[in-house]
Symmetry: D2
Subunit: 265 residues, 4 copies
C-alpha cells in the first residue's frame, strides 16, 4: 500500500525503570506495548510505527523527526516537568500544521496537552483498581468502530469530573466508575490543522495497554487523527503590502512600522 | 448600586512613550482613553475602573489585585515578550476561576491570549489606514446592544484571515476591509469558568479608542464577561480516598502512589 | 425590583390526569410543583411565574403571551405528538429572538427540542427507581451555584448514552447511574439569540420536582437563560438594493428576481 | 479501485425549465454541471455520481436509494416548499446515520438545511453581479486542498451576515463582497454521525458551477463528508430492562410504563 501513516509513540519511560510492579507489567515499556498492539491491527501495513522516550536527545523529537511524523501518541505521568519547553513548542507547531496528537491517561497534565487546551486539565482521581465502563456516545464515529456499546475494564484508576478542558468538538466516550464518579474519557478537538484525541484508560499498574479493545481505540484514533495535508505556514503572520492588496487602495494615515518591517510578537 | 464590577485595563504603554504620533493621539496612554470611554457609559456606576501597565511592579497585576478583579482588558503590541511568565500563569488561573478577559487588537499575539487559545493566533496584516466595516453577526447578543448593523471605521490597520484561533463559541463581529480581506473581529470563548472576548479594532496610530461605538462594545463586553461566581479550586486535582468514594468500594490492585501522596504534575 | 423575568412553565399535564400514582405525587400537576419550587427561591421577587398546559387554547402559548415571555420551561412526555406544529414554529421563533428555553427530562423527545437540535434526541432508558448522581462539570457556572460536587437522587428513571444531541456549547452536569450507565444531564446551547438548557431529572413517578436542589438548578437556569435583549427581525432575510450597498457598486449580470421582489423560501 | 463513494446530486430543477437566462447557462440543469465538474476531478474513479430531481417520484430520494447514498449534494431555491416532509424526514435520518450532506447557495432555506440546523438560516442578499472573494480560513483543511489563499468570483449574488446558523464546528471560508458585506461561506457541522458542509457560491444566473475551483471545493467536500461507518440505530431509544442493567440492581418505585412497552414519542 502506497499511503503510509508515520506514527511515533512517545513515553517518558520512568515508572517502568523505577517501579517493580510497573516493570513486571510492561517489561519493555508502555510504548512498546502500544506499538505491538496497534501494529497487530495494522493488517494492511498502513502504519509506520516507531517510539521515542524522554531520555533520548531532544526527547527523541527532533525537528527532522517531527517533520516526518503524522500522528504522535503521548504517554507521560511522573516526569511532565522534565519535558523541555523547546520540544513542547515544536510539537505544538506540528500539531497546528496538521500532525495528529493522541494523549493518553495521565498525559492530561502533560505540558503539551495543557498547551493545546489552554485550561487547567485538572480532574479528581483515586487509585483503587475499581471497575470502569467507557460508554460510546457516537456509534458511527471512526474512533468507535469495532467497539460495542461500551468498554468494560475490571481494574482502573478513577478519573472524575470536573475535567478542566474546553468543551470537546466531539464527545466519543464517557466513563462510569464503580466508586460513583463519571468522566469524559474520549474527547476530540480541532486546533489549527491538527486533530487531538484524549483517551483516558491506561494506568501503569494495570495491564490496560495489553487490552485488545484499547488497542483498537488507539488504532482507530491514529487513522482519525491522520491528516495528509499540511499547513506549513501556520505560524506565519505575513504583512500584505499596500500595493499587493487584492483591491486597489491608497496609503492613508500614520504607521508604527517602518517599511518592510516584520510585525511585533 | 450595590453590585460592583471591578475592571482593570492593562496596557504595555510603550508606543505612547516612544512614538510621537501615538503620543499625540493618546497623550495619557491607550488605557486612559479606554477608562474614560467606558466610564462615561457607566451611568449607573456599576463599574470600578482602574488601570495597570507593564512598567509597574509585577506589571501591576499582583495576586492580590487579580483576586479582586472581575474583568481584565488587555492591550499589548510591541512588548509582548516582556510580560513575565509568572504573571501570565496568574492571569490564566484567574480567568479559569471566572475573571473575564477582553483582548484588544494586537493583543492577539500576547502571551496570555496565546496561552488561553493554544493555537498560533496568527493573521495577515497591512497598515494602510483603510476603511473597515465590522458586521454584527448576532443582533441580540449582549455585546452588540446599541450597535446598528455594522460599525464603520474610516482608517484602520487591516487584519486578514486565516486567524489562528479555535472555533469561537460565539461569533459576534466579522470585518470587511477596503483592500479586500475579511476577519473574525469579535469572538467569544468559554474557558474554565471564564469568558474571553477578542475584539479587533484598535491600532495605535488611529484614534479608534476615542470612538464612542468602540467604547460601547468594550463596555458591553465587560458586562458580558462579568461572572459573579468564582471557582477558586479550578486548578486542583484532588485525590478521592477509597473510603470517601460515593459508592462503597474496596481497594484492588497495585499503586504507584504512596498513601496520601499528591498526584504528579 | 424593577427588572422582571417573565417565566412560563409549560406542562402537557396528561399523566397527572390519568395515572393515580403520578396524581398522588403531583396533585396540582408538575407545572405547579415547579412554580412553587422556583417561586420559593425568588426572594427578591425578580420572577413573574405563570403556567400553561396542552389543554388550553393554542396550548396556552399564543403569540401575545410568548411575546411577553422571557423564559419557557417545557415538560412533556406522553403527548408530544399532540403539540401543534404552529405552536412549535412560534416557540422556535421566540427562542431565536432571545427567549430562554429549559427542557426537562422526557422533553428530550418534544417537538420543540427536536426542532432546536436537528438531531435524533434519542437515548436509552430504564424505569427501575435506581440511584443517580449528577456530577457538576463546571463549579463556577451560573447554573451550578449553590450546588455542591454532585446532586444525589435516590430514585430515578435511568437515561443512558448515546444521547442524540449536537455537542453542547457547555457541559454542566453528567450523570452516573446505579445500574451502570452515564448521561449528559445538563447541557447548554446557544441558538440564534436564545439560550437552551436541557436538564435530565424529573420522572413523574418520583417526587423529583419537590426536591429543593432540583428547584435550585431550574431557578439558576432561568436566570442564566434570561436575555434582556431581543432580536425581533431574526427570521427576516432582507434584500439590500444595489443603491443601498455600503460601497458604491453598479448592477452587473442577470437576475431571477424582479425588482423589489422578496426572496424565495 | 475498490472503495466507492456514492454521490447523489439533487436539484429542484425549476429555474432551468422556466427562466431562459438560467437555461442558457445550464442547459442540462445545475445538477448535470456539478456532476460533470466533480466527475472530471475524480481521476481515480472513486466516486459513483448520479443525480435526482424534485420532479421524480419521491423526488428521486426513495428509502432504497438513500440507503445506498454516501454523500448528498443539495441545490434548491424556488421550490423549497414543494419538497415533501416525508422525504425531509428520510434525508435527516440518513444524515444522522452517517450520510454526508453538502448544501449549496440558496439551499440555506431548504427544508433539510433548516431541519438540521434548528435555526432561521436567514441572511441578507443582493443580486448585483458583484465581485466576491472567498477567503480560506484553514489552509490545511481537506476541503481547501488545491485552493490558494482565496477564490475570486467576478459576478455573484451577495449573501450578507447575520447568517442564522449555529456556530460552525469548523469555519472554512469567509466571503468579502464588493458592495461591502461579509459572509460565512464555508461552514462545517457534525450532527449525529453525519457531516454537513454549507457552501455559498452558486447563483443560477452566473456560470458559477462551470468554475473549476468551485468544482474542486465540492469534490473535496464530498471526500471530507464521506463516512464509511454507519450508525443504523441512530433513531432508536431502546429500553434496557432491569435484568439487563450492566450492574445488578433491583426494581424500586413506580412506573408509568407497562412491562415491555415502548417509550413515548
Amino acid at each position: 500500500m502506497s499511503k503510509e501513516i508515520s506514527v511515533v509513540i512517545w513515553n517518558e519511560n520512568v515508572h517502568e525503570q523505577e517501579n517493580e510492579l510497573v516493570r513486571s507489567i510492561y517489561p519493555n515499556g508502555i510504548h512498546s506495548a502500544i506499538a505491538e498492539g496497534i501494529g497487530s491491527l495494522d493488517t494492511d501495513s498502513e502504519l509506520r510505527i516507531s517510539t521515542a522516550t524522554l531520555q533520548e536527545p531532544e526527547h527523541g523529537l527532533t525537528e527532522e523527526r517531527l517533520a516526518k511524523t503524522d500522528v504522535l501518541i503521548w504517554w507521560g505521568h511522573r516526569a511532565h516537568g522534565d519535558v523541555s519547553e523547546e520540544v513542547v513548542d515544536r510539537v505544538q507547531k506540528r500539531v497546528l500544521q496538521g500532525m495528529g496528537l493522541i494523549v493518553l491517561h495521565s498525559g492530561h497534565f502533560s505540558k503539551i496537552f495543557k498547551r493545546m487546551m489552554g485550561t487547567s486539565c485538572a480532574l479528581k482521581w483515586r487509585e483503587a483498581g475499581e471497575r470502569e465502563r467507557l460508554w460510546v456516545t457516537n456509534h458511527g464515529h471512526p474512533i468507535t468502530q469495532g467497539i460495542g456499546e461500551c468498554i468494560e475494564l475490571e481494574n482502573t484508576e478513577m478519573y472524575g469530573e470536573p475535567f478542566g478542558i474546553p468543551a470537546p468538538d466531539e464527545q466519543v466516550f464517557i466513563s462510569w466508575f464503580e466508586g460513583g464518579e463519571v468522566f469524559r474519557s474520549g474527547c476530540c478537538w480541532h486546533r489549527g490543522n491538527g486533530k487531538i484525541f484524549y483517551f483516558r484508560p491506561g494506568h501503569e499498574t494495570y495491564p490496560i495497554y495489553h487490552n485488545e479493545t484499547i488497542h483498537r481505540v488507539i488504532y482507530n484514533a491514529v487513522k482519525w487523527a491522520y491528516n495528509p495535508s499540511r499547513w506549513t505556514s501556520v505560524m506565519d503572520a505575513p504583512n500584505v503590502p499596500v500595493e499587493k492588496a487584492p483591491e486597489t487602495i491608497e496609503l492613508k494615515g500614520g504607521s508604527v512600522h517602518a517599511d518592510g518591517e516584520a510585525g511585533f510578537r
